[in-house]
Every structure is written in structure tokens, then in C-alpha cells.
Symmetry: C2
């Protein structure tokens, strides 16, 4: 077996998966309802009925040959057009189907974006705290992921560190807002300052620096929060989207890559994605899923439960003395642990059947992630456990 790199990866442990496995084990002992599992980012609300009805209608009325036949390389044309129309309406940019490439979820969208704008040896920058899968996603392309340390006061961008780290080998910057794990939404000021620095550095180095904007949580934004759209602020932006969270369809692997209409190279990037697919074995998402999603693009699951849960937890935790930047969206929050070692803190939390993920894995030691995509009833029942945990530290 030649590919030692993948064999070696089998020995690495994912803290998130280990925590989830512990939860399943513990649930078998004391009952599922008594384990407060805040480890996984799995949507907890169903897909809208409209999607299910559309699926049934397609199965009942469309010819199987048309329904299950090969999609065009860049995706089902109706789906591409529907995405373009929706983005144009929402963000006032001249999207057409030519800017859209249908993908098997955000992971596939990112896999194409990285390969379109970097070559092996290049550096991609991202910002702590960050989704830990970005590491293997980027590094296995041959490019190198480097992480800008967090601005711990706001979880916006640490611009001083960022500017130092934008060196000539940087050809892309990967952002994720609303953010996993902090729940923070980047402000317009943050995005504009990012764009200004990247324009300046692109001129200085004589090459483009793309922003790859990973936006699976775009639709989960809380009251009073504005989530500005990077592709309208910085022309060299590739937007990576997934319907996993907005429509609660993570298993169906459906999303898209959108090149900014402000980018003169945007349509070429989309065409290149069709070639990139040949190398990585991606040949379009499921045909029926593309057709069904095209019909419910502007719908979402009932996402209000996430804001309800956030408020309950945020109020309780800050009341207990936790320090926490208030989430503007997603179904995550990222408080500071009550001791320096967040791993020890999360092990202590397990004694109260609270399953939390230490921040080290997100590039932010000393913090921990709560994934509150769980039933509100369970969130309420978990508050006593947080109380007992906090008491240990007073």
C-alpha cells in the first residue's frame, strides 16, 4: 500500500467524533434523553414539506430517463438558473447560470475552489477559530493551510496578524461567516478591511488573491444582525454554499459554487470546475436532488429554534460567569472555559453528562464549542448541569 499519507491519517483522532462516540456509549447506559450532547453540528429540524412533495411529484410524473439521466457537467441547468436568479435578487449582483457550478455539498464546493485558484505549494490563510476539516481539505490538495490567530475579544479578524501573514505565497484566503465554531457574523467593516488589504497585497505581489467564502450558515442569522455578502464587496470572491443547514439536507450532499459576477475571470473559474471534477471523481450531485432543490431554493427549514436555544444558553452561561461573544447566527457558541485547559474542562463537564468540544481543535485553546442544534426542551433540562459544572469552579 503506497499511499502512506492516508494510512497515517487513520491514527489521528477527531475530538468531535470521539466525543460523539462517548455520547452514544453513555446514552446506552443512562438513556439518550439524559445525555446533553452538544458535540455535533447536525440540523435538528426537518426539511420543509415542500421539498418532500416536490420529490414525490418528480418520481410520479417525470420520465425515469430524464429524472435519473446524466446531469450536464456543470450541473442541472434549471438548478443553476434558479440559484443565479435567487442570488441576483438577494444580493443585487448580475449572476447568471454561467456563474454557478452545482456541487455535492460545501465540501465538494471547497475542493473545487481550492484547486481553481491555488497550485501545490501555495498558501491558503484562514482565521481562528476555524472548522478543523479545513486542515485536510486544503493540505491534501498540495497547498498549505496557515491559521491567523484569533481576535479573542470579538472573533472578528485579527488584522495586525493577518497583514503580517499575507506573504507572496498566499493566493487565497478562506473565510467562514456566520462562523463555525464561534457563531460570529463578520461585519461589513471587517469584510471591507479584508478586501482593502487583499487588493493592496495583490498589487504588491502582482497576482490575484482570492477569497473563498464558505457560507453554509448564511440563512441562520439572528434578529438584528446583518450578514453582508463578500462577493459584492470583493470581486475576487468564490462563494461556497451548501443546503445542508438551511434545508436540513446534510445527507443529500447538495450545494453550489458561485463565482462573483464582479470577477472578470468568474465564468472561466466555473468552466474550470468541470475539469477539476474529472480529477477528483466528482460528477455532479444527485440528479433528482438537484431538480427538487431548484424548486425550494428560497425556502428554509424552521430555523427559529436555533435562536431560541442560543438565547437560553447565552443568558444562562453569562449569568453563571462564563465569558462569551454573543453569536449572530449558526447553531454554535464558543465560550471561554472556566480553567485554562479546555480539554480538562470538557472532561469535567462529562461528569454532568454535558458533551462539549474543546477549542484546541478549532485553533483556539482555552475555549469550547456548544452545538445547540438540539431540542429546546433538552436545552432547558441541561441548564442544571451547567450550574453544577460552574459551581465546581467557584
Amino acid at each position: 500500500m503506497r499511499a502512506k499519507i492516508y494510512k497515517d491519517m487513520l491514527n489521528a483522532k477527531s475530538v468531535i467524533r470521539e466525543t460523539f462516540a462517548y455520547g452514544a456509549h453513555r446514552a446506552a447506559q443512562i438513556g439518550y434523553e439524559n445525555v446533553f450532547d452538544y458535540s455535533l453540528g447536525n440540523p435538528s429540524v426537518p426539511v420543509p414539506d415542500k421539498f418532500t412533495k416536490k420529490m414525490m411529484e418528480l418520481l410520479e410524473t417525470k420520465s425515469p430517463m430524464e429524472l435519473h439521466g446524466y446531469s450536464p457537467t456543470l450541473g442541472n441547468q434549471t438548478a443553476r438558473e434558479a440559484v443565479a436568479v435567487s442570488l441576483k435578487k438577494r444580493f443585487h449582483l448580475d449572476y447568471t447560470a454561467d456563474h454557478i457550478f452545482m456541487t455535492s455539498g460545501a465540501a465538494s464546493s471547497l475542493a473545487h475552489a481550492f484547486r481553481a485558484v491555488t497550485v501545490p505549494g501555495d498558501t491558503i490563510l484562514t482565521f481562528a477559530p476555524y472548522f478543523p476539516e479545513y486542515g485536510p481539505y486544503v493540505n491534501l490538495t498540495g497547498a498549505k493551510l496557515k491559521v491567523v490567530p484569533a481576535d479573542l475579544t470579538s472573533f472578528q479578524v485579527n488584522f495586525q496578524k493577518f497583514e503580517e501573514m499575507v506573504t507572496a505565497d498566499v493566493t487565497a484566503v478562506l473565510i467562514n461567516s456566520p462562523n463555525n465554531p464561534s457563531g460570529v457574523v463578520y461585519t461589513e467593516d471587517t469584510l471591507k478591511a479584508l478586501a482593502d488589504i487583499l487588493r493592496k497585497k495583490s498589487r504588491e505581489f502582482g497576482h490575484d488573491i482570492y477569497v473563498i467564502s464558505d457560507e453554509p450558515y448564511r440563512e441562520i442569522v439572528f434578529e438584528g444582525i446583518d450578514s453582508p455578502y463578500m462577493a459584492g464587496i470583493y470581486e475576487k470572491t468564490i462563494t461556497c454554499y451548501s443546503f445542508s443547514k438551511s434545508l436540513s439536507l446534510p445527507g443529500e450532499r447538495i450545494g453550489y459554487l458561485a463565482a462573483s459576477p464582479l470577477d472578470g475571470d468568474g465564468k472561466t473559474i466555473v468552466d474550470m470546475c468541470g475539469q477539476i471534477s474529472r480529477g477528483i471523481g466528482h460528477n455532479c450531485p444527485s440528479s433528482i436532488i438537484q431538480m427538487a432543490v431548484a424548486d425550494v431554493l428560497e425556502d428554509t427549514s424552521d430555523l427559529s429554534v436555533y435562536e431560541t436555544n442560543m438565547k437560553i444558553l447565552y443568558d444562562k452561561l453569562t449569568g453563571l460567569g462564563f465569558s462569551c461573544v454573543k453569536p449572530g447566527g449558526t447553531f454554535y457558541m464558543f465560550p471561554k472555559a472556566l480553567e485554562e485547559d479546555a480539554n480538562a474542562f470538557c472532561l469535567k463537564a462529562r461528569e454532568y453528562d454535558l458533551l462539549l468540544v474543546p477549542g484546541d481543535t478549532f485553533g483556539c485553546p482555552g475555549y469550547f464549542r456548544i452545538s445547540y442544534c438540539v431540542d429546546t426542551e433538552k436545552v432547558k433540562r441541561s441548564l442544571g448541569a451547567f450550574e453544577k459544572l460552574a459551581k465546581e469552579y467557584h
Copy 2:
């Protein structure tokens, strides 16, 4: 835009796609029914009703969270078990779910297999005539595809050339039987001789040489033909399968990779696939499609039309003086052109609205491919056009 390699690929023309595009253009002029389009390998018979019924049942009865939630990294457990049970029963090998990795069609299965057993710089051998996508599929991994010249008398294996070409840099051999484009099924003698050479060369070089067996046409085998199973003959075999052809589901992107139970490293290879996925953006096929396929694994579409078409065309063409190895399966045949330059021959055929693909693209100049996955009625109507074409050469 850094990734020049993909941009440059945009300029390359696919003869198959160009022919298909010409057919669409011509159909607009003279009517779809008057164009004899033998260019594409798109199944022409519908998926079995049982699949559609299962899809409806899943949508009606399963909780949306369970139906559309994340699949495990290596695939839906029920689907993996169903595949293992079926393979065990058919091929008398000790398959378990641990040998099976669910993939988004054969392209994705191959993308994982190449990365599991080669590293950049290695050579993968395949045999002419071959599916032209193998070129980019392999070369974009960093390994190099080299093509063993065809045995033109039988389209089995040219063993003399093969043995010369198995050098120390070869770590995998890619076979495709039943074969696209020849329709030929490798005999047991062919596969055993292949295995013997590879065992000898593995010992000589001190490293494994894997066979990657691409078998999307396994279920389309004609009367009297036996299609032996490579994973039972050679232990270091990875089987790549797709339901695209057997169930007429090419757009749903569903297949699997199966490591041979005879290979002590087989289960490790499957585990490695889960890591390879992280780098190439593959996170399982669609969840609902995995569940539905698990229920209809042993069914197929009504594939008899392909044998009917083959017989009509084979009898007619050999009667007209074409030289052609009789297909043992698939929906392809690969006759010798009536002039040395198959490109010129195929252009001449267009004058009779016969769309054929010249063999150069399959590594076999002088031959042409007929994809007879079309209605039998149309096949019959096309015979006159073949007659007129042949007359030009007498």
C-alpha cells in the same frame, strides 16, 4: 488564476461530446427520429419500478432527519451490508460491510482507488481500447497513465507488450471488462494470466501491484458468455462498481468500491477511502439514494434490449463486410473502419446521419465505436444508412 492546468484543459475537445453536440444540432434540422446517434453511452431503458416505489416509501414513511441526515463516512451501513451480502452470494468470497465503501458512481470509486494504491509519480497501466476519461482521472492524481497497445485480433490482452511495460514504477493496473468501447469480456484465461504476471512482477520489484477493476457493465453480459470476477482470481484487486448502467441511474451518482476479501490489506484500504474523501471533497453519495439502492441491489433494468440491438447490428455489419470482434456484453461494439483513417470514415458516416465515434480517442486508431443504447426500432431504421455507407467503399 493559478491553476493553469485546468484552464488549459478547457481548450481540449472531446470527440464524443462534439459528436453528440453535432447530433443535437442535426436533430433540430431534420428531426430527432432521423438522426442515428450512436455516440453516447447513456442507458436507454428505465430504472425498475421497485426503485421508484422504494423512493416513495422512504419519503412517505421515514423521518426526514433520518432520511436526509449525514451518512457515516464510509457509507450507509445497510447499503454496505446489502452490497457485501450480494457479492458474497454471487462470487463466493467472504465479503463483509468492512470491505465496502459507498461512492458517488464509478468515477468517484476510481478516484479513491487510484489514491489508495499509488502516489504521485507512479505509473498505472491500462489496455487499449480504453475509456478516454481514464487519462484525466489518473493523470490529475499525479500518477501517470500508460496504455498497453491492443490485441487487435480479440481485444483481450496483448501479453507480450504488457509484460514489457510492467516496470518497477507500475503500482496498479486498470482493467475494464466488460469493456467500453469493445464490448469484449475478458476470459478467465486472460485474467489468470494477468494475475500470474502481476504476482511474479510484485515479487521481483518487492512491492504490491494492484488491479483496479472498473466494472460498471458487469450486469450487461450476453447469452453464453461467462464474465469471471477478478477479485476472486487476484487477491490485490479493488473492484469499482456503479449502478449507472445496471439500474439506469447515471444521474444519481451511486456506486461502490469493494476491496477483495482475499487481500489482507483490504479493510485498511476501505478505511483509507474515508480519509481520501476529505481531500477530494467526497462526502458520501446521496443518503436517500443509498437507502433506496440497498433495496434493489439484485435487480436490474430490462437489459435485454442491448443484446437484441447487438445481434441486429453485428449481423448486418459483418454481412456488409465490416470486421468486428463480437461483443460479449455492454452496449458497445468496436468494428474496424472501412478506411485507414477512422476520423474520415466517421465524417463520411455523418452524411448518412450515422453518428459514430472514431477509435483514436480510445487509443485504437482505425476502429470506431457504436453505442447501441438506443431504441431497437431506430437501430433497424439505421441499417439502410450503414448499407449506403458501406457501398461507398466497394
